[in-house]
């Protein structure tokens, strides 16, 4: 029992540190993609003296900047909440990752389960519950900052989250119905046996993608931040590492959402005709982790690509999109899927 606990703690440590390191490099990738989309070159200096190409030390320099900067706390903030907000943001982002499988989680005899909390049968419910917690970080930040821009940003964030939780939740119900489980591993296994979720639930995929962009506050739905109108929105009054923590939280959310998209709609670790769930060896496990990572990387790149393509929504358009388009579509999709599952799929 003790060894199991130590093993789980080690797993948490490894996963969290890898995730944070990845976030540092995601910021680098984001800057590179941004630069390329604007016909620039992007960061390419850091590490040149050490012979490291492409400015690959830039994340280190960015991190050092975040840590060493002066941490200004304005006099008019409500201090306890002001301190608490970035912690909530980053913790909510991190614990959401606990049930996301980053590799095959198979029958009990596996050498290792690639999931911090393996085989939880309400996995996806947990992820969404934690996902809505993230808004507490944002709204507390906006409230505690005692600043109108920050407050408007926070209000927008909560309105946006309430609106987009609904289509987000309903968009995955289709695949959940078809796979017959809320456990992410069961859903992957179903896709491995049949086809990838995107082929059976194209509308569900589209709705999930759009709502996921809104949930992670990424462009074109980054109204809580909107640099141009709200000078940074909820994190206007934050500096140094507190600002960095919001940043980390945002990118952790991007990673989680990318994992979810891949797991729900692109077959997780599945590679048709090559990998299937009956391969339990170590080599195939590593291979599956690599496949999943590759898919997730593509998804993250896609999110960044979209960021530099689409302009920000206006606020009323944002609400229109959620309430007038996404939610009715999600309902239709859900009812149609349920009918098909009940009448055709289950009678076979």
């Amino acid at each position: 029992m003790l060894w199991v606990a130590i093993g789980i703690l080690l797993k948490i440590l490894v996963v969290v540190s890898i995730a944070l390191g990845t976030v540092a490099y995601l910021i680098y990738v984001e800057r590179k993609v941004a630069a390329y989309a604007q016909d620039r070159v992007g960061p390419n200096r850091a590490g040149k003296e050490l012979g490291i190409p492409f400015g690959l030390l830039q994340p280190l320099a960015d991190g050092a900047k975040m840590v060493l900067k002066e941490d200004v706390i304005p006099g008019y903030v409500s201090r306890p909440l002001y301190m608490l907000a970035p912690v909530i943001a980053i913790v909510a982002a991190m614990i959401g990752f606990a049930v996301v499988p980053f590799g095959p989680v198979g029958p009990p005899k596996q050498i290792m389960d690639f999931q911090i909390a393996p085989n939880i049968n309400i996995g996806i419910l947990y992820v969404f519950a934690i996902g809505s917690l993230a808004v507490y970080g944002i709204i507390l930040a906006g409230w505690a900052s005692n600043n109108k821009y920050a407050f408007i940003g926070a209000l927008r964030s909560s309105a946006q989250l309430i609106s987009y939780e609904i289509p987000l939740g309903m968009s995955i119900l289709g695949i959940v119905l078809i796979a017959g489980s809320l456990d992410l591993n069961q859903i992957v296994n179903w896709q491995d046996r049949r086809v990838w979720g995107v082929f059976v639930q194209p509308i569900g995929f589209l709705l999930f993608l759009v709502s996921a962009f809104a949930e992670t506050n990424r462009l074109p739905f980054d109204l809580p931040e909107s640099e141009q109108e709200l000078v940074g929105g909820y994190h206007t009054e934050y500096s140094a590492m507190k600002f960095g923590m919001f940043f980390l939280g945002e990118y952790l959310n991007v990673i989680t959402v990318s994992y979810l998209t891949v797991i729900l709609f692109f077959g997780g670790w599945d590679l048709p005709f090559v990998l299937d769930q009956n391969q339990t060896g170590f080599i195939s496990a590593v291979f599956k982790v690599m496949v999943l990572l590759f898919k997730v990387a593509l998804m993250i790149l896609f999110i960044m690509w979209v960021r530099w393509t689409l302009p920000r929504f206006r606020y009323d358009q944002l609400m229109d999109l959620a309430w007038k388009s996404l939610i009715p579509l999600a309902l239709v999709n859900l009812v149609a899927t349920a009918a098909i599952v009940q009448l055709i799929y289950s009678s076979r």
Binding site: V33, Y36, D39, R40, V41, L206, T309
Partner: protein
């Protein structure tokens, strides 16, 4: 204009097709555009930026950078201290003290005893260049204008003439028309140029 004016035209926004109302084809098209840029810079070296300290940007010929005071073919300052540039300057950054030209300069009455431009006040609009009747003041393509103090950024006549010496090969005078009148008798007289 009245509401029932027959010349009044009503313009309706273009009607969107069903595909356009879904926005998805447009989004795909937009992704294509950004994708082309990303691929172009990442794999085909199409970035339009210049890696500054190693590569130097060459500005276009009509770039407005640091000023210079032109010299004529006898190595004399071309300026005749007419004050037109100082008058035209919207930032009031040009300060000229004119003096009677030496007797050996028969082609003009005055020359600038002192000619000072405050490069920190200058807005690089090029009005001085346009105003000058003798093409004595010109803006060069030098864009890396730096200094360690405000005093260093106040360019006097010597400095402005040295800018001419430094840039005359790369950027010949825009109007090479010589000053009319006979040339001075002797080649001495470096005195106005200190």
């Amino acid at each position: 204009m009245r509401a029932d004016d027959p010349k009044l035209m009503r313009i309706e926004p273009p009607k969107l097709t069903l595909a356009e109302r879904f926005f998805l084809p447009q989004i795909a098209e937009g992704l294509g555009v950004t994708g082309r840029h990303v691929v172009g810079v990442a794999f085909q070296k199409k970035a339009i930026t210049v890696q500054y300290p190693e590569e130097q940007h060459v500005p276009s010929p009509n770039y407005r950078g640091v000023h210079r005071l032109n010299k004529d073919e006898h190595d004399r300052i071309k300026c005749v201290a007419c004050m037109l540039c100082a008058t035209a300057c919207p930032a009031h950054c040009i300060d000229i003290v004119g003096a009677t030209a030496p007797a050996s300069w028969p082609d003009r009455e005055k020359y600038p005893e002192s000619f000072v431009i405050d490069e920190l006040r200058c807005i690089f609009c090029g009005m001085c260049e346009e105003a000058c009747p003798v093409e004595a003041i010109e803006l060069t393509g030098l864009y890396d204008l730096t200094g360690l103090s405000r005093e260093q950024m106040i360019f006097d006549k010597t400095k402005l003439l040295s800018v001419f010496d430094a840039t005359k090969d790369a950027e010949p005078m825009k109007y090479a028309a010589p000053l009319s009148g006979p040339a001075p008798e002797t080649k001495m007289l470096p005195s106005p140029l200190d």
